[in-house]
C-alpha cells in the first residue's frame, strides 16, 4: 500500500538532490535546471497532499507553480544569454567582477 509518506519521502529526496545540485554545480544553466528539479519535487508533494486530503487546492497550486516556472525560465534564460553575450562564459566562478 502506497501512502502519502512514500510520496513525501520521494519528494524530499528529489528536493534535496536539487539543492545539492545547486550547491555543487558551477554552470549557470545546470544550476537553473536543478532549481527546476526542486520545483518539481514541490509539485509532487502538492499533488500527493491534495490526493490524500481529498482536496483540489494542491492541484491548482501546481498549475500556478508551473506558470511561475515558465516565467522564470523565460527570464532566467534571457539573463543567461545576456551574460554569455558579454562574457562568453556562464561558469559562475568566472562571473566575479564583484566580490561575493
Amino acid at each position: 500500500m502506497i501512502t502519502i509518506t512514500h510520496y513525501l519521502v520521494l519528494s524530499a529526496i528529489l528536493f534535496t538532490v536539487g539543492v545539492i545540485g545547486v550547491l555543487i554545480r558551477r554552470n549557470a544553466i545546470i544550476i537553473f535546471m536543478c532549481i527546476e528539479l526542486m520545483l518539481n519535487a514541490v509539485n509532487l508533494s502538492f499533488v500527493a497532499c491534495a490526493h490524500y486530503l481529498n482536496s483540489m487546492q494542491g492541484q491548482l497550486f501546481v498549475f500556478f507553480t508551473m506558470t511561475v516556472a515558465a516565467a522564470e525560465a523565460a527570464v532566467g534564460l534571457a539573463i543567461i544569454v545576456a551574460v554569455f553575450r558579454n562574457k562568453e562564459t556562464i561558469n559562475i566562478d568566472d562571473i566575479n567582477i564583484m566580490k561575493w
Binding site: I2, L10, I30, M33, L37, Q59, F63, A74, A82
Partner: protein
Amino acid sequence: MLAYLFYIVAAITVTTAVYLIFEKNPVFGALYLIQTMVSLAVLYILLEAQFVAAVQIIVYAGAIMVLFLFVIMLLNLDIGEETKNALPYQRIPAILMGIALFTIICIVIRSKLLQGKQDQYTTAFVQGVGNTKLIGNLLFTEYLLPFEITSILLFVAAIGAIMLAKRKL
C-alpha cells in the same frame, strides 16, 4: 500492482535526478531532467491528477525544457569548462545536505500526517465531474484573482525576455 509501479517509477525519477546533478554535458542533463518530469507525470496519474499530468508533459517537459535545450545549443558551451576546481566546493554542502535530507525523511516518517481538514473532493466525486472540468471551474471562480494576475506575470516575462536577450533594441 500499483505499488510496484510506484517503486519502479520512483527509482527512475531519483536515478535521473542524480544523473542530472553529476552530468557534465548540459544537453544530457536536460534530457535527464525531461525523463524525471515524465516519470513525475506518471506519478501524478497514480495520484489521480490527470490534468496536472498532462500539463506536466505539455508545459514542463515540452515547452520549458525545449527552451532550455534551445538556449544550451544556442550558447554552444564548452563541456569540460567547470571540471577544474569543482571538488573543494562539492564535499561540504553535499554532506550537509545529506544530513538535512536524512532529518527531513525522519521527520516525515515519524510525524502523523493527514491531520488536516479533509475536503469534499473525493476520488469518486472528482471522477463524477471530471478532473479537468473541476480545475477549470475552480480557476474561474475561487482562484480568479491569482489566475488573472498570472497573465501579468507572463506578460512581464515576455517583456523581460525580449528586453534582456534581444540583440538590438
